[in-house]
Every structure is written in structure tokens, then in C-alpha cells.
């Protein structure tokens, strides 16, 4: 494997895993449910996106050529992550979970 492909794969791997860690830290530390919903739904899709780009680059040099089923994983996650986040947000609003005091424009 040439050096620049290895460097690119390493860069995307580090970026993806750091994004996953940032999302997990957001899930752990943010004060109420609605802010906690915001952290992982953005950062973990970016994290898996970085991992998938790295693996596409890594497996592109094989004799049967680059494969597309990594892209399938990204497509599936990008479609389903907002759906599940929307569902959880609706459930939390129906249960009237508490907000932090600094939230402006309280809906209830």
C-alpha cells in the first residue's frame, strides 16, 4: 500500500473515532434530554462516516476493485438516524421531561 493512502486512512480513522468520542462526551455531560439528543445524533453519524470513508479507501486497492457496500451503511445511517431522533424527541415532549433553566421560549 502506498504511503499517502495509508496516511489518508489514518487521518479519517482518527477523525471518525474522535467524533464518536465527542458525541459520547456530549451524551454524558449535557444538562437535559433535549441537549443530550443534539450531541450524539450529529457526532456519531460523522464518526461512522469517517470510519466508512477510511475503510472504502483501505479496501479500494484490492484486485476486484473498490466496493460499494460501505456506502450502503452510510446511506442507511443517514436515513434512519434523524427518524429515530425525531421519534425520541416527540416521546420526550409528550412525557414533558424537564428543561434546564436557561432554555428560552418554553413550549409548555
Amino acid at each position: 500500500m502506498p504511503f499517502w493512502i495509508e496516511a489518508l486512512v489514518s487521518l479519517f480513522l482518527v477523525l471518525g473515532s474522535l467524533f464518536a468520542l465527542i458525541g459520547a462526551i456530549g451524551l454524558y455531560r449535557l444538562p437535559d434530554f433535549y441537549t443530550r439528543l443534539h450531541g450524539p445524533t450529529k457526532a456519531t453519524t460523522l464518526g461512522v462516516g469517517g470510519m466508512v470513508i477510511a475503510s472504502m479507501l483501505f479496501f479500494a486497492g484490492r484486485p476486484e476493485g473498490p466496493s460499494l457496500h460501505e456506502l450502503l451503511l452510510t446511506l442507511f445511517l443517514f436515513i434512519t438516524a434523524p427518524v429515530s431522533a425525531h421519534m425520541l424527541a416527540k416521546a420526550a415532549m409528550q412525557k414533558k421531561l424537564p428543561l434546564t433553566e436557561r432554555t428560552r421560549g418554553k413550549p409548555w
Binding site: L13, V14, Y28, L37, P40, G47, V48, F58
Partner: protein, 89 residues
């Protein structure tokens, strides 16, 4: 270079999984726990893709795809149960 980067990434994602697990255990409400479970399976997916790169085997993508589908179905079922009190209505 990859021989050093991949164990580092394994450690970082393992840390993320541990933080998700803490939130899953102590989450004050039920939607918190479902959200932590959702994040947990997405991070496990990243771990499996990383493991596939480490072993240079593309056998792991099918497992990752299965985890993605089953995790989404589980999250939707749990969210539907919270929303309506029933899964199929």
C-alpha cells in the same frame, strides 16, 4: 503507521462506549436510556468497521449492516411504545 493508529482508535471508541454505558445505567428518564442504547449500537458499528480494517477482511460489513438494521428497528419499537403505550396500533 496503521499499526499504531488502529489500537489508538480502538481505545478511543472503547472510551466512547464506556461513556454511553454510564449514561445508559444512570439516565434519569426512559428516553435518555433509549437514546444511550441508540448511540451504543452506532458506536459498536464503528468498532466493527474498525476491526474489519484491522484484520483486512470485508466479512465484517455484513455484521455491521445487520446491527444497523436491527438497532434501528429496536429504537423505533421502543420510541413507538413510549409515544403510544403500544408498538402496533
Amino acid at each position: 503507521m496503521l499499526a499504531y493508529v488502529i489500537p489508538f482508535c480502538l481505545v478511543v471508541i472503547g472510551l466512547a462506549l464506556a461513556l454511553n454505558l454510564v449514561r445508559l445505567i444512570k439516565g434519569p428518564s426512559l428516553p435518555d436510556r433509549i437514546l444511550a442504547l441508540d448511540t451504543l449500537y452506532i458506536n459498536a458499528l464503528a468498532l466493527i468497521v474498525l476491526f474489519g480494517i484491522w484484520l483486512a477482511s470485508d466479512l465484517f460489513f455484513e455484521a455491521a449492516l445487520l446491527i444497523a438494521v436491527m438497532g434501528f428497528v429496536g429504537t423505533v419499537a421502543a420510541g413507538k411504545y413510549l409515544l403510544r403505550g403500544d408498538i402496533i396500533d
